[in-house]
Symmetry: D2
Subunit: 362 residues, 4 copies
């Protein structure tokens, strides 16, 4: 940490600040410039608080040198983290470290049949993981709020039948245990990125967590939220960029694809991209998915629906299964340019119907 | 709702969309322009979903005419809402409808003594309501997270002793019952403005709720979150502007004071302003508080600490008690320009020490 | 400037960087921390370029200590600057240092009669300076672009007749000389805040300049643009906050009133506020004007039109003369709370009609 | 245009508004809903002004149906525009319609030698167009402002020698004629996107214009600025996304790659991407360039410098020539996935040295 004093700080004030710093067990290193006196604080930054130093009269700025997150940082953990998700029926799906994942499915699990139908279609088109909402965060209290635990069952069954791990959102600390019984991966939505108690709770489970970026969260705040989960011993965190709020209103959010290489430079965690929620418009999803993989993302998460105009939520952004299939073909080609490949659930035993359907497609 | 078709929509498509609209019990009113066909949807907008219409092939735009919130809207409820908060020892503090409230106190309740000391000081300076954090939402998992239920007790005692209602933040659906036992007002923080289950839970209590605006929330989204609480039968919602995220980094957030008259134009709910969290810097708090009251806000919420450099959180933004006192004097003068007055807890029985201290000050 | 090296920088690299710094005539002050090596650069920051240091391999961050502007900074010039504008007919209007100015008039000078009518009305209501557009920056090439030099004549005559200094926008380096012949104050619009050649040109004149903040400009960038003007010897710069672009779309822009105290803390220049362009909606202009003066602004600039529904531009935001009059009364009351007063053009000779009209009003 | 009246508008007001609309030669089509009366305005939208309608008492909202730009819109011009730039020595470089262009070169033309050296290197690596700054917009008046006309000569010579068209920025209406004598393409920088007189001036030339997006410009405002140029008869406009201002400060700007497909959906003009200015950091340029081409951009513009730590501006973002070469190889592979190809200057006569150098590289 570097402490910059206001101009004209006198000797007594400087000594007083130095004493306060050294009282915490750190060393203070003084530089007197022509215009400012600067104190370098040497030692572990965590020991002394930025806000505390800022509160001292005579201090103008406090500049941290270290990142405020540790477990999430690449300095702490140099190698890319690969998250391995056990697959129903055997095998695993890997995300990170060169393994890409395509996560797809409906916004909400509307009924049992549609979940199964879409699951089969996306599996055939090359998706590795099935998504579907049981608890839905909706802007309006009058909108459909999801089918809850019943939907979790449908999703679990569809995952099992198609040998795909499943992911679903948890919104409430009271639901973590229930959701854990069904899901393979927890999803923390953008609106809950700083629901810190919820982060602690999923951090105490041992299931992977996809942590979406809040629409007003800086990359640093996002990594701090990952740190909440990691700090509880759960090291299987996958970050998911899904658009931020800016002045541009052409689409719902502004997808920040720079976040992909910036996260990779600062953290070892895998990062995927959700172009469906970012754009809110079906027509623009493929272009943004291509861009995400080209930018180095470890996967994509998209919404697919076989009858979008009847969807109970987010119909305008859902891809039709055939568009998803074409898109997957081009995504694989882009991944190939960088010698990366999309994961498929590798089953130890042959799974007749899924293989039969998928064979030509992938 | 107005449905605008893409150019070149043929007769069959137009009829198809009209049929889909009329199937929901609404009437479709067709206008054929030179360049576009437009369908006016007549009836209750809630019956048909914007997203549903947007998902129909051939539809270019869907423009809602009605606001998506109802109970929060001024159309529904023309008169300003005044929230009355019972005061320990008798009487009430009113917020809204010409009654202004000054809410003050420490960021976090650090120990019993400091809570009592600050409570006495802010009471003497003219605050009507005591604030203090027991559960603290912190960006870092390694920061102080609040003293929990113990802090609630300190705050309750300090409120009682000084005959001030208290307000404290609730962050977790699991804590609503506990917090309800102690507090007079729930605070929903900016990070939880779209924690919809938490909104439902406080909506089911009958205690007033201060709902802070999310740092990326549009005014409409904020009012939709108020609607969540109102929809459960709790009509005592006070909105609180506390700054939004913008590109400007001179201060922590950009305080959006336009939100005050805009909310008042669209809603009957009282709206207060928190200049402490918006700026993050003590020096700028008074100017922003003056501006808030001049803009028409129904009150302010500020942090006060008697030893900011030792504060466990947000020290740099806490006012010293004497600055708060001077600020209150000027705030009362500005309110006077508009014939509005700051509420004081009106006690039915004389409360010796508090009155003695406060007498000369207010 | 402080140079922070990447972790693991070896001795040779450190020495190499030190040498590069000392070659520019500055002193390098080394601090070796547990995790990072930090080099404090002692001397005049301007001598070595931040970007240059950032380009050196092994450098992680470069943190400037000094502000990048000098003439605009309060460190350089401690006292508030007061800008004195000569008034036609004698006397001056002052802005800054406790003197507030109300600048009012139509968006565009539409014809000679309307300019004169509005000038008389705003003078009577307490405005000190007359504004009006001759060259209009319009988003669309098909919109009315202003009446050019002819409009400048109308404005000059109306100013003379009502003994008010005038202000008008200049958009093109080729127009500076022409505009200078007519106007008392140059206005640089938000879209031209970083039209650096235009800043240089008005900096070479000796007429005061109102410099509007760009809608995406940080406060620091704004002060850097002021520095462009000041660097050419023109010290009469008045800053004008007029709203920034954010995600909130309820109004045209988000008025950043925090900018007022932040500018005053960092600079000695006067700062005024334009609530008309910020909101774009007449109904919200008075509340924002009150807030601006309460926040410490040195004046306001508003649009007034006596027939807004026929205005050639920005009709929805123009105040009616009677609203402007009421608003001025309340603005004076708020200014009074802080012992500040609105400037009036003080004429040395009696000016019968204006005084007669204004007498009761002010 | 759709005019929505405030609730409770009486018959007289409705008729009055209808009359005002029909007086302009348009037809008003009335819809009375349960809650609101809506008037559809049928005819050419340009005839009646949105602001004019908004200024009428009783009007709540005015919703345009048509886009405010015409010549730039895809409705007006269905086919993709391809811009053909004559190449010194013969042939053309094409941008748009499946032809991609790589534009590269130094930020500023620092001296004659460096311009020639870099030109040779980027040509060999596959660039089609040479960029270089002669007039530099700098945030600080004390920074290097460019070598002016002399630099234009260096750039012209380097373009001729390497058979590459050149592009350079023009910042001032007074410089348009001079720059036109040297350059093949005008660049309008982000800060001048709404310098409307400058847009008119380059619109009156017949040289292609690269129009960068302003850092606070919506896509619609950007297309309106293109309309300024097109309206003067110059149809050779290439749009360039270069990052917008958001709350995220990890990089200089937030590159908005969604703008690429959104522009292509709304406009026929080619759109390229500048990842150098968007990120400001060399390390992140390739990932963003890959993403741009994958998203469908018609080209990229990047800064290359052979000695970035000595660059006179923007050193930290300049690629080394060898990185540029590797990046071009991967960009060609991604373009290939979509059957698009990078343009090369096709000379009618053999150009010995360039071919010799480039042979192995491209």
């Amino acid at each position: 940490m570097i402490v910059i004093l206001k101009p004209g700080a006198d000797e007594r004030l400087v000594q007083d600040i130095v004493t306060q710093i050294e009282d915490t067990g750190l060393k203070a290193h003084l530089s007197r410039g022509e215009f400012r006196t600067v104190i370098g604080v040497v030692g572990e930054e965590g020991k002394v608080d930025k806000e505390h130093l800022l509160s001292i009269a005579g201090v103008e700025q406090v500049l941290p040198i270290m990142k405020p997150y540790k477990l999430a940082s690449r300095e702490f953990h140099k190698e890319n983290t690969t998250v391995h998700i056990p697959c129903p029926g055997g095998g695993t799906v890997s995300v990170g470290g060169g393994h890409l994942a395509a996560i797809a499915g409906p916004c909400a699990c509307e009924d049992e049949t549609m979940v199964h139908t879409i699951a089969r279609e996306i599996k055939a088109a090359g998706a590795a993981i099935l998504r579907g909402g049981a608890y839905k965060p909706r802007t309006s209290p009058y909108s459909f709020q999801g089918h809850g635990e019943e939907a979790l069952k449908w999703l679990r069954d569809a995952g099992n039948e198609n040998q795909m791990p499943i992911i679903t959102e948890v919104m409430d600390t009271r639901h973590v245990q229930t959701v854990e019984q069904y899901t393979d991966i927890f999803q923390i939505g953008a609106r809950n990125m700083q629901n810190f108690n919820l982060l602690f709770e999923v951090g105490r489970t041992r299931k992977p967590v996809v942590l979406k970026r809040g629409m007003a969260a800086s990359i640093q705040e996002w990594l701090m939220s990952a740190e909440y989960i990691l700090s509880q011993g759960n090291r299987q965190v996958i970050l998911c960029e899904r658009g931020i709020k800016t002045f541009e209103t052409a689409l719902r959010y502004t997808l920040d694809l720079s976040a992909v290489p910036v996260v990779k430079s600062n953290s070892h965690l895998p990062v995927i991209v959700d172009p469906s929620h970012a754009s809110g418009v079906r027509e623009f999803v493929p272009a943004l998915a291509y861009a995400a993989i080209a930018a180095g993302a470890d996967g994509i998460m998209v919404e697919v629906h076989d009858n979008p105009s009847q969807a109970m939520c987010d119909g305008p952004q859902a891809l039709l299964p055939e568009t998803f299939k074409t898109m997957m073909r081009d995504l694989r080609a882009i991944a190939g340019v960088f010698d990366r490949t999309f994961s498929r659930a590798v089953s130890t035993a042959p799974a007749a119907p899924a293989v039969a359907m998928g064979a030509g497609a992938i």
